[in-house]
């Protein structure tokens, strides 16, 4: 767009910048408040209420939450589920996406329809629960991974990406004596690293954030991922919840605000750490998904 220097144009520009700046500020302030709050002393937080820059950094809240092994164990569960889950999902998703990207495959259309239909209609919570239960997965870590292993959206994004690679590549590889597995692992996947990375990160974030499968399928508290524990500590501690599945282990009395904030930070930080990597790719990836999905 060419610069427009009329008074109206400048006022318009000014308003746009101010509004967008405020939007960004409102989005980020709560996060900053939580991070700063987790680093202040209980007294300072009680005095000032809203802290953005603690006068004295205090790690007490973190020291406290890591003094018991409840949080530590949950973190380990979440890390494990995220690692294995992402790997498992990526293997299933890329194999299927590559297969379905092959135009000469008989039955391709029917399988695609079958996948898209699951995005429009589902059996719902109870029948799925019954399936998971009859597979003997209740209260196992597998229940946090296997029932949600493939995301139809991600599958379609990856398939579109594979399809956009030039056909000639595969043909010439075939002439050179490469079989289908070779084509996938030596040509298609190396050429699709941006897409593979994006989808992996999407899966990783989903597994880190996993909550519903955990409350549906996991009974023992020592297998809870961090998100469930976070709910116990912050939301249940306010004494106002839907159900009264009691309080776990070490947090018998309602914890201080600073401790709640520290737990939120601990559950958030891993996502914030991968965010810069994520950001490099997701414009393209998410776009493909939302337009073609």
């Amino acid at each position: 767009m060419v610069h427009d220097k009329t008074i109206g144009g400048r006022l318009f520009d000014g308003a746009v910048y101010v509004i967008l700046f405020l939007v960004a500020l409102v989005t980020i302030l709560p996060f900053l408040h939580i991070i700063a709050g987790s680093l202040t002393t209980v007294d300072e937080l009680a005095q000032k209420r809203f802290v953005l820059f603690p006068t004295k950094i205090s790690w007490d809240a973190y020291a406290y939450i890591f003094s018991t092994n409840t949080i530590f164990r949950s973190m380990l569960v979440s890390i494990g589920v995220t690692g294995f889950g992402t790997l498992f999902s990526m293997i299933l998703t890329s194999l299927m996406a590559y297969g379905l990207s092959r135009r000469d495959l008989v039955g391709r259309k029917q399988i695609m329809f079958m996948i898209v239909f699951t995005m429009l209609f589902s059996g719902g919570m109870i029948p799925t629960f019954i399936v998971v239960k009859s597979l003997g997965m209740i209260d196992s870590y597998a229940a946090l991974i296997v029932p949600t292993a493939i995301n139809a959206f991600n599958l379609i994004i990856l398939r579109s990406f594979f399809q956009s690679l030039p056909d000639g590549l595969e043909e010439s590889a075939k002439i050179d004596g490469c079989n289908d597995w070779g084509i996938l692992f030596r040509i298609v996947i190396p050429l699709s690293m941006p897409a593979i990375a994006t989808i992996s990160l999407f899966y990783a974030v989903t597994y880190w954030n996993t909550y519903l499968p955990a409350i549906l399928y996991i009974d023992s508290a020592d297998k809870w991922p961090i998100q469930v524990l976070l709910r116990q500590i912050v939301i249940l501690a306010s004494g106002l919840t839907a159900d009264s599945s009691g309080f776990s282990g070490d947090f018998v009395t309602p914890p201080d605000q600073t401790i709640k904030m520290a737990v939120i930070v601990v559950a958030t930080v891993p996502v914030l750490l991968v965010y810069p990597f994520l950001q490099k790719y997701f414009d393209k990836g998410a776009l493909l998904g939302s337009v073609k999905g």
């Binding site: 209420r49 299927m96 429009l120 719902g124």
Partner: protein, 303 residues
């Protein structure tokens, strides 16, 4: 001859079928088996007898559904939250994308985008936890602020009136920025000559947005609107469940949370499956009608 040809084509791709197999198995097991499992809504399902051993009761659970007062409460709550999504949330990403597009300072644009995308990657537990910490009665900054200004503290978490505003604000906070991606891409595809021509004709910035930007992204808006309507009953179990409590149940209980409590907590498997079936079915009908309507009006539709 033709059959022989088909067989050859299938055999030639043996390896490919092998690659698809695990994924296919996944969809059959975890998506299509549960669809078949919907038959338990016509049974008196007993877990130890399984689907094959339980007695058939016909439409008993569906009759109960339509006579149960609680059913109509959750029906109303679901519709209200859906309409709020449509009215208050849906336009926000469009407006944000148009504003972002008007920014010429690329660094500033990227800065705003980077920040407004972040909440999308936070779980609902985190989003709800952050709001809890901020609005709680004992020491939350919002209530302390109200107190400092000499106003009454408000019990945001335990009230009928504040559930809906909190719900929608959290939705906007989490998803508005992320929602701009698609619109920004659509705007980027607009031919710049259109803007130049309109400027020649004396259109100011508002008129350019109104007559060029908006009409150009209309089909994208329609597609996303159809998808949103398809989500009518998918308001997010996690989000609502986290906000739900004994004091706001009247306005907060929706289909998903009801299925969870009635089904898994109280063990009424068949009845809550009927509730879930009703929900899925209405969602399917709605998205198909919206798609049909869009096509009628000359738009592309989703499929």
């Amino acid at each position: 001859m033709k059959k022989h040809d088909l067989r050859r084509r299938i055999l030639k791709n043996k390896a490919i079928y092998l690659m698809i197999l695990p994924g296919l198995l996944y969809f059959v097991l975890f998506k299509y088996f549960p669809m078949w499992g919907l038959v338990i809504s016509f049974q008196e399902y007993r877990p130890y007898d399984g689907i094959l051993g339980s007695d058939w009761v016909g439409f008993k659970h569906y009759q109960r559904l339509f006579t149960e007062p609680m059913f109509w409460t959750i029906f109303r709550n679901t519709i209200v939250l859906f309409l709020m999504n449509l009215i208050f949330f849906f336009p926000v990403p469009i407006i944000l994308a148009i504003l972002l597009n008007e920014v010429r300072l690329q660094a500033f644009k990227r800065f705003v985008q980077t920040i407004v995308y972040i909440p999308h990657f936070m779980s609902w537990v985190i989003i709800v936890s952050i709001s809890f910490v901020m609005v709680t009665m004992d020491g939350g900054m919002i209530n302390e602020g109200l107190d400092a200004m000499g106003m009454q503290k408000i019990n945001f978490l335990l009230s009928d009136e504040w559930f809906r505003p909190m719900y929608i604000l959290q939705v906007i906070w989490r998803e508005a920025g992320w929602g701009t991606i698609v619109y920004l891409a659509a705007i980027a595809a607009i031919d710049p000559q259109l803007y130049e021509a309109s400027r020649m004709d004396g259109a100011n910035r508002f008129r350019q947005i109104w007559h060029i930007t908006l009409p150009s992204i209309r089909s994208v808006i329609v597609i996303l609107l159809i998808l949103k309507i398809g989500d009518v009953l998918e308001l997010g179990f996690e989000h609502v469940y986290l906000l739900l409590n004994a004091m706001n149940r009247n306005v907060a209980e929706i289909f998903d949370t009801y299925v969870y409590t009635a089904g898994l907590k109280q063990g009424q498997f068949s009845y809550s499956t009927a509730v879930g079936f009703f929900k899925s079915f209405v969602g399917l009908v709605l998205v198909m009608s919206a798609n049909w309507l869009a096509k009628k009006f000359g738009e592309e539709g989703v499929y």
